[in-house]
């Protein structure tokens, strides 16, 4: 049987993956350009303004980094759950809850010395995020309840819970629904942007996740469960436990993102602050098929689009909502497995191909 050599296989696969991402980017930008033409604006001007808005000057670049930080975590959160076979749309809810817990601890646990308080904020946020993700993980693995539905609906529940808390019991009593300012903050740089050292915490967390997935036995188990739970069960790995744990890790990363947003960006819990953070992270992960190494790069690209959007809206007549449209087109194209497979090499996935 002719089998291509392994090294070649890896090279071509990597090249194919990258080529596909690039083609997807180009096609999405072209479709986006059509939407811009639709409202009689110049797409090239718009795109130039977009990238200027993302990189031109300290503020712009800082803003890009600030919006990259949560996306880095939420995209990895989605990806790690996906590795175990879960479609966790609930990262956004976990960001909200992580944020509210960080705000609560940051405001009220002043009896702790400052370094401990940081740790408490992070641990509290991550624990609650994990606990929240446990629910859909449990329901899916024990009762086969579709996790997409559950996590989406639970996002709304999380939003309303935090919204109730900051407009009621935890309200700062100002016009906006928000909490009192927290007593610990993450150091900000590139001021006046809100880029902060949370970025490096996030990078460290993501590196840890990648290491765990690739190098540890636990990572091996996640990969096994995600690709073939029946096999995992048979070889003596408990697929349910692994599935739930991955969901909880995913939730913890979401909670961490919420904590960084509260301690690093806002300084308090602002109602609704996480809207879009979860879904954009999901987009970044989906585009690269939940590859944990590539997801951060995609997250960075989306962060550029996000932070440049405002500049584009100001300097051209193109509404910043075009960016959401482009990213959505992006994801639709990216999910189409066979779109950029040329040469008619559309392999049929017949499992009995070698045994037919």
């Amino acid at each position: 049987m002719p089998v291509c050599r392994k090294e070649e296989g890896i090279m071509t696969n990597a090249w194919k993956a990258i080529r596909k991402v690039l083609l997807t980017v180009v096609l999405a930008l072209v479709i986006g350009a059509l939407f811009i033409l639709l409202i009689s604006e110049n797409p090239i001007d718009a795109y130039v303004a977009l990238f200027q808005g993302a990189f031109d000057g300290k503020l712009s670049f800082g803003t890009t980094l600030a919006s990259f930080t949560p996306l880095l975590l939420t995209s990895t959160a989605f990806a790690i759950a996906a590795k175990a076979g879960a479609f966790n749309v609930g990262v956004e809810g976990e960001v909200f809850l992580g944020g509210i817990v960080a705000a609560y601890i940051g405001v009220n646990w002043t009896f702790l010395p400052a370094p401990m308080l940081y740790v408490a904020c992070f641990l509290g946020a991550m624990a609650v995020g994990a606990a929240w993700a446990f629910i859909p993980g449990f329901l899916k693995s024990y009762y086969n309840v579709n996790e997409v539905c559950v996590t989406i609906l639970m996002n709304s529940v999380a939003l309303y819970i935090t919204s109730y808390l900051v407009s009621g019991p935890m309200s700062a009593g100002v016009a906006n629904a928000q909490s009192d300012p927290v007593t610990v903050n993450l150091y900000q740089f590139l001021k006046p942007s809100s880029a902060n050292v949370g970025l490096f915490i996030a990078i460290a967390a993501v590196v840890f996740i990648i290491w765990m997935l690739k190098k540890t036995t636990f990572g091996y188990k996640i990969r096994t469960v995600g690709t073939n739970p029946m096999h995992a069960e048979y070889v003596g790995i408990n697929p349910r436990a692994i599935f739930i744990k991955s969901m909880m890790i995913s939730g913890a990363l979401g909670g961490m993102a919420g904590c960084i947003e509260v301690l690093g960006v806002h300084g308090y819990f602002l109602n609704n602050f996480a809207t879009g953070l979860g879904s954009n992270g999901m987009l970044a992960a989906l585009i690269v098929k939940s590859d944990v190494v590539l997801a951060p790069f995609m997250a960075f690209f989306l962060a550029i689009l996000k932070s440049g959007a405002m500049g584009m809206q100001q300097s051209t007549g193109v509404p910043k909502s075009i960016v959401d449209t482009i990213t959505a087109v992006f994801i639709i194209i990216a999910t189409m497995e066979l779109l950029f497979q040329f040469n008619g090499k559309r392999k049929k996935k017949k499992k009995d191909k070698a045994e037919a």
């Binding site: 002719p2 091996y220 096994t224 096999h231 048979y234 049929k348």
Partner: protein
């Protein structure tokens, strides 16, 4: 006008990089039974699936009744009078027998389906061929033999003149096979042309008019039955002479390693629920479980390996109660398991040979160092196993995705056998693998027995059961219908037990089964 109803020449078909058929050739005369034989993976099923339009062929010419067909869909094939009984039945479990039969060719009354006409029409065919089929039942309520008859009726109601049967006897008892052959004889008498795919030479010699042989995707030749003999066919199939009958080594049975006491479980179908099974396996012996697929063998194995809940009864391994323990704990107690389905259970096809070889021991030394996976140790171990068990390709970092059936199965066997322990459960260990792998897997099972492990073998292949087992039990409708020593057993007495010891004329008629609680 050609003499042939079907003519296939120069057929080529590849799946990805694997060439399943190269230069395939096949002809079918009107009113003949033409057997297409070859080993697993010889391309015989693929040839016929191409004729039925399941896949498109890459190159070659297909003529049906003299007319060349450049692209075939199942719909076109049906229109041209071709019908196929697939190895895996194409029946929707949740629909009724009647709904399955009329699917795609539903008689209509206005906007709705005319079930009355449909029933009348189907009953007409059932009576004509004297088959017993209960058309009101759902597919998951009937037996395998009956389902096969449903498939045949389905094809006949669609007006097929050419009938392809893909390994139809694999799921039947010898007695049921004889009934099937009577039906085929009747069909031939009515002028139908039949393609019979098989690798069982005695059956082929019994039923065929002509026989074509394929090997490794290539056409080898066609012979008239009256001019040939099994030895010649075997040589054509394999390309060399093969003696599968390994010399059985006398068992030196030791103490009991597996004791199953009055086991009850749920089941995929009514007839596959386990109803109170007792069984013992001793160290150093092979106990074979014979039976037609779907009579509870899978459920029984799943129950003792921790993959299915035991509802009642006890399972002991080496004296330790392992009832309803997790698969992990059962493995720790000394059980290893070659599962019946290597694609879903046995292997993770997305991972490498190495990853699959260490899957069971990923938490054990030397592969696990603290939390870390020691890929060096894993690689070394895998290379050793690949060498010892002749897994091709040798490179353990290759993906298992494109492994052939035989090599894929060797990965599973290597992993399980290398662990050792007390009991090896081998379920359909040679299903869908080539003849070379069959030989080596069977001799490995013998070796395992020699080393003093108990072996529990499940196989639907009577020849395999007879050639390996020291003791044989027969499973029928979730119960043990008979037990005997291997030297008392033969195809006839086992075949009878496989049907619950009933008279053959009632074979396959099963009432829903009893619910025990």
């Amino acid at each position: 006008m050609s003499d042939y109803v079907v003519e296939m020449t120069g057929i080529v078909k590849s799946f990805g990089e694997v060439q399943a058929v190269k230069n395939g050739y096949f002809t079918l005369k009107k009113g003949e039974i033409h057997s297409l034989i070859g080993e697993n993976g010889a391309g015989k099923s693929t040839m016929m699936k191409l004729l039925y339009g399941m896949y498109g062929f890459d190159d070659g010419v297909v003529k049906v009744n003299g007319e060349e067909l450049t692209s075939i869909t199942p719909k076109l094939a049906i229109e041209k009078g071709i019908g196929m009984v697939h190895q895996e039945f194409m029946l929707v479990n949740e629909l009724t027998v009647l709904e399955n039969i009329i699917l795609g060719f539903e008689p209509k009354k206005g906007m709705t389906i005319d079930f009355d006409t449909a029933r009348k029409n189907v009953n007409h065919y059932i009576d004509q061929y004297g088959m017993d089929i209960q058309i009101g039942k759902r597919i998951n309520q009937i037996s395998v033999g009956e389902a096969q008859r449903v498939e045949i009726i389905k094809i006949l109601t669609r007006g097929a003149n050419t009938i392809i049967l893909d390994e139809p006897t694999a799921v039947l008892t010898p007695q049921e096979t004889r009934r099937l052959f009577e039906i085929l004889e009747n069909l031939r008498r009515d002028g139908k042309s039949i393609v019979f795919i098989s690798h069982k030479l005695n059956e082929v010699m019994e039923i065929s008019d002509r026989i074509s042989v394929m090997r490794q995707g290539e056409y080898i030749g066609t012979v008239d039955k009256k001019d040939t003999n099994p030895a010649e066919l075997a040589k054509m199939m394999i390309g060399r002479e093969v003696f599968l009958n390994i010399e059985k080594k006398k068992a030196k049975a030791g103490e009991v390693v597996l004791k199953v006491d009055n086991l009850w479980t749920s089941g995929e179908k009514e007839i596959s629920k386990i109803h109170g099974v007792d069984l013992e396996v001793r160290a150093g012996e092979i106990v074979g479980i014979a039976g037609i697929d779907g009579n509870g063998q899978s459920e029984f194995i799943e129950a003792i390996t921790g993959l299915r809940q035991v509802e009642k009864g006890k399972v002991y391994l080496g004296g330790q109660d392992i009832t309803n323990l997790s698969p992990r704990k059962i493995r720790d107690a000394g059980l290893t398991h070659i599962p019946e389905d290597r694609n879903t259970r046995g292997l993770n096809r997305t991972m490498s040979i190495m990853d699959n070889l260490i899957a069971v021991q990923v938490d054990a030394k030397p592969f696990s160092k603290g939390m870390l996976l020691d890929t060096g140790a894993a690689l070394e171990h895998s290379k050793e196993l690949a060498e010892k068990f002749d897994i091709r390709p040798r490179d353990p970092q290759m993906s298992t995705e494109s492994l052939s059936g035989g090599n894929a199965q060797k990965v599973v066997v290597a992993r399980e056998v290398s662990i050792g322990g007390k009991l090896l459960v081998a379920s359909q260990p040679t299903r869908g693998v080539d003849i070379g792998a069959i030989e080596s897997i069977r001799s490995i099972l013998q070796d395992v027995k020699e080393e003093g492990l108990g072996v529990l073998l499940v196989s639907a292949d009577l020849e395999e059961i007879l050639s390996l087992s020291d003791r044989i039990v027969v499973m029928y409708e979730g119960k043990i219908s008979g037990r005997m020593d291997a030297d008392e057993a033969n195809e006839d007495n086992l075949g009878l037990l496989m049907m619950g010891g009933q008279d053959t004329s009632h074979a396959g008629v099963q009432e829903g089964g009893r619910d025990h609680d």
